[in-house]
Subunit: 117 residues, 2 copies
């Protein structure tokens, strides 16, 4: 059960990142919290489009928001990228092990490779 | 120009990762190279579906393939996750700086916070 939820969370997270405009908003938010209009301006996007992108980022767990009066302010979620880092690190270990094995193989048997047809 | 290409590459990469079946294939490939049918079996997917997923992963620069005779073998690309790691690390630095500033702010002025209405 937990695993299915985790998988769906990763789906939403990676989907949220697969868009240049959304990544542009994250670049802005990496400098500090911002309102919807502050996020819209440099990207030259219409507000409804920005709101939509922000919803996708929020569903992906990458940003959080807070409404004060009529202004909603967005910020990077404190652990925004931890799940991705963990996921990537695990796969990289697999990749490293493959290269270690390849190196051992080459170190041991480099001279004795037979060419089979 | 370079930047647009990079952005499109990241789009394709994150899109490729936003799917549980595709991530399942990467988990298998993290153990070593595999053929299409070896990848299909544990996932209980039809071969055409697997072929389609693998094409998305290859377009995303995450896997590479080689055809020998009638068998196409897939492997994780040697630098499969480097672009993602670089991208995430950069944004995390921004996030860390925000927390540093917040800590400094709290350390300096914790007693003097005024409640404004």
């Amino acid at each position: 059960m937990q695993r299915i939820e985790d998988a769906e969370r990763l789906d939403r997270m990676f989907h949220a990142l697969a868009d240049q405009s959304r990544r542009g908003m994250l670049d802005r938010l990496a400098k500090g919290p911002a309102s919807v209009s502050e996020l819209a301006e440099p990207l030259e996007l219409a507000l409804p489009s920005v709101v939509k992108h922000l919803a996708v980022l929020e569903q992906g767990g990458i940003v959080i928001s807070r409404k004060e009066g009529r202004v909603r302010t967005y910020a990077l979620a404190p652990k925004a990228f931890d799940a991705i880092e963990t996921w990537v690190a695990k796969r990289k270990r697999g990749l490293d092990r493959q290269f270690d094995r390849l190196e051992q193989f080459l170190a041991k048997g480099a001279g004795s490779t037979g060419e089979s047809k």
